[in-house]
Symmetry: D2
Subunit: 331 residues, 4 copies
């Protein structure tokens, strides 16, 4: 039974608390939050203790730490937790600073402790089935990957300002998905971006709509489209063109009902947002972490993956700003 | 070049005139109608002569007669046209009277002339592809056939009164489709019917909604659903469950556009009615007739098929009236 | 906190144990089974006691009994449990004997205890959404209901022999669904049935493929299709034609991946069977039971509903045997 | 009755000959081809004369010229035909040289004769319906356009060498579609391109897979994906994200049959290529030309549109070569 300490009792902390407690091989021992009441509330709901972060990390009875705090604390906490001999699952992104993330990676590597980055979408059953079909050669060699990833509505501008920007905060998931599907990082990328959804986002120095095109050493191409607003719900599609066919992952709809009237043939909307769409993925993510820690096998998503995704986000941020292609090795 | 005389210049006559003139192997020589102006109008549009029915049948320069007149004249005209040595394509149904249809069949048989009944849906590309897949064994042995066939809106009550009733006028197409798919006629059937769409149809002695269940000698079952009203357009679906799978023919939609909004994910309605849905089928039907006549091969839909479908309609009419199963051999 | 005793530790007992323990408002206190080891195994997994059925029913600390035993014990156990002052959720069908079920209903009524019958499909989110849309008038007045309900593979013949037959064992769900959607029971019905999937089922006196057509007092019609085998998975579709449109509940697929190759455009199969498809429905069913018991509100599915569904099954069995329509009031 | 001379009797010439002769308001008078036998064959089929190009252009009895010759002759022929007072429908692209196309545009402008460029896809019913829905405000203001346009198989390398390259030969259609949907030309674009489908295409100096991202003055973005190979058929999809929703045009499938087996749920492939997919669009294109010429109204696709599309192709060619964004005003 893996004994787990949870750092962070915000929305995503609750998601993880549910997965940890529902899992047959893990127990939630303690939770911390910089707002003590938040930690107490979660602790009450899931039957664990509310303690301080330092206390949790220092507790020799705790085997693993799940970091679900704000991004600016990720690197510090990964370093402390691994130094204390814990296995770590850290939420994305690794850091807003690529330099800091790389430094963290070096520090963590010296401890030899296993660290996994929480790119939950890799554990979505449909993306997993698509990846398996691709790896099985069902459409031949991949040539062109397209990812469509639209949020239902933009976050508050206050959040946007501290988010690190669309590329580090939102597209980071898609950058990871691209390396998951393609099995490689691109050589270079070009970003086109705009704040057409909400001018206030532009005034805050960020964008809300972006297209990034990435090219790979072997000639493959990937394109990622992001928008902060899809009025019809969470749009999470992915398709790969290969030498012998096309694989697509379609949207999950709210239900299976179709209505035909004079107005047309209408099915349900896509599920609203990530909690509705990806809860099974969070559960599977946690299971894969428990399995890897327990069996001592390789982490399914590594800190290197997290640093790579952040490098792509850094390159895209630069490309959008300067209006030219950026080589990944140059960031 | 097959020289053709067309009897009947109503709506379906125009459909056939278009197919005859567009076909590279046939020429429309003449058309007749009991309203002379109707014949003249069609003749002017398609560049042929408007003549009397008797004159057309007697013309030795005409090879084939297409009968698109009112149902009560079909048997007489088939007899006369075959007696005059013509090949005949006659619109469905053969007759409203099963007895008269059988008598016609005997008279026609003595002439040895080829006669085809216009069950156009057999020539619909999707139904044809489904039949081909079934015959190729793609889902194993057929076990259960379901036909959904809804018109967009009920016809005028005046038409209903002379139509012979829903089973002979509308479901006749589905009875034929059942023998096309199943390759057999049923042993017995049971009909449930109601005039829930429009009470005036019930007052006129007919029904507007009906379900017929048919059983076959080898244990297979087929069910046909008809309604005179589908607010969303012409609903023409068919599915066969077999030992190894299911084959479905879905509706043809007006276009390929899908709109996703807060209200859901909406595609186009089905095409409005038979002219929109089955025009390619009429064209293919005519081509198969020309080919069979020209090459002297067997008719793809025989007068026997037409009589069989009428027998099913007769049995269904009786079953709905008496509220009990009826054996086909008893009608 | 509702304290629950579970009778029956078979496959469906495990499903309910999971729902009971996961629910925030109920606790699983004890389980019994006629095979003591089965009860012990379930008890160990879910942290409750394995006890005798009589002991559980007699325990004053237990509020509610969930009956998940073999069908032949349902009536007796409902009578005993309600006599002991328990609220009861009993699996379908009520009984194999309509007479016994009606007797049970009278006995239970005298106790005044609330009893719910486990027609889980009413709690499926898609069927629920369809029902809500219908009740909201989105397609006008219902006219024609069609239910397609195919199991992936037939059960062992040994099971078939004690099952009460397809109508009482399998179609019972669809009979209940018909009254859920239509809000009424039919006046009469006609069944056509065959053992085309497996002759051994026919030799055992049962059928494996059946179509039942039901007519209602107000002219509406419903048709139910059942097959014990759908090679492609669990086929659970439902559609209602109304005056202003059509509502359909489509199949749940295993995932959202679509592959396009030379062979066509292929999506995933339907989910395999009821555990995959209806687990959320079992969870929602239990929640509705807990709510009704706790708040003292009406049961969402009553014993009367269970008796009605059984009467339809009885009528269908008779109709299939005698080859004629049967009035529900005559069984 | 519009009297038409057709220049070019290749594959696309036959497509137009069929549309011209089938139209009630136009007659095909003569056809020319640099291979006289080709012109004679088409003339025999469609009942017109085979004459020389000069002769056709000089014939005062001819009202309109349809140019379906090789691209390098388009500009010369447009100039000659308009100088001779003819209305012109010219196949895409206007020219391989943007400079030559602009010169042609000036010459033609002086004649005042109406010229239409054959961007047939604008007349596809589904793209038309999508455009109408967008213009009607059904998804609010457009923000992000995506065009997926894959051919079924690459052309022979010999053709590739004289084609002007993927951007001028293939993506030219999508550049036009982008201005049709967006109602504007982009400010700048970036192209990523590769010859991953067939290295021989790369050796011939061309690419076979490309992604072009375009940005507009008002902040909108468009992305076009092209591949010379889609093993499953002609992939022609388009989607627009707007402030209130998403509009998609999906692929046209070969038929409406769906097969469910252990292997999944399989529908038909997309139609094979442009003749299967766009024949109705060619017919509608011709009708719109006849209407515009006959009524003296504005051409639905102008020579300016053709020059704009060519400018985008030129910019994309340059961007792919130099690996940087290119402003449209700079080409």
């Amino acid at each position: 039974m893996l004994k787990v300490g949870l750092l962070g009792a915000g929305r995503i902390g609750w998601v993880h608390a549910k997965a940890i407690t529902a899992h047959g091989g893990s127990t939630l021992v303690a939770v911390s939050d910089f707002i003590p009441e938040s930690a107490q509330k979660l602790a009450a709901e899931y039957g664990c203790e509310a303690r301080s972060t330092d206390d949790i990390i220092a507790d020799p009875a705790i085997d693993a730490i799940l970091i679900a705090t704000s991004t600016d604390t990720h690197s510090d906490l990964m370093e402390k937790a691994t130094a204390a001999g814990k296995a770590v699952l850290c939420e994305k992104p690794v850091d807003l600073s690529l330099e800091r993330a790389r430094a963290c990676q070096r520090v963590v590597a010296e401890t030899g402790q296993p660290v996994m980055i929480g790119f939950n979408r890799r554990f979505d059953p449909s993306f997993g089935a698509l990846k398996a079909a691709l790896d099985a050669g069902e459409i031949g060699k991949a040539e062109l990957l397209s990812i469509t990833s639209f949020d239902p509505a933009p976050p508050p501008v206050a959040y946007v300002k501290v988010s690190g920007g669309l590329f580090r905060d939102m597209m980071i998931h898609d950058f990871d998905m691209s390396q998951f599907i393609m099995g490689a990082t691109p050589v270079s990328l070009t970003a086109a971006a705009t704040s057409i959804v909400d001018p206030a986002i532009g005034e805050a120095g960020d964008v809300d709509t972006a297209v990034v095109t990435m090219t790979y050493a072997d000639g493959r191409i990937a394109v990622i489209k992001n928008s902060r607003r899809a009025a019809y719900g969470y749009d999470q599609r992915l398709e790969v063109l290969g030498a012998e066919g096309l694989l697509q992952a379609q949207n999950m709809l709210e239900n299976l009902v179709v209505k035909s009237t004079k107005q047309g043939v209408t099915g349900a909307k896509p599920t609203f947002f990530f909690l509705e769409r990806y809860m099974p993925a969070y559960t599977a993510e946690w299971d894969s972490f428990v399995t890897a820690v327990t069996k001592g096998t390789a982490m399914p998503v590594t800190l290197q993956d997290g640093v790579n995704a952040l490098a792509m986000a850094e390159a895209a941020t630069l490309s959008a700003k300067e209006g030219k292609p950026v080589r990944i090795e140059d960031v």
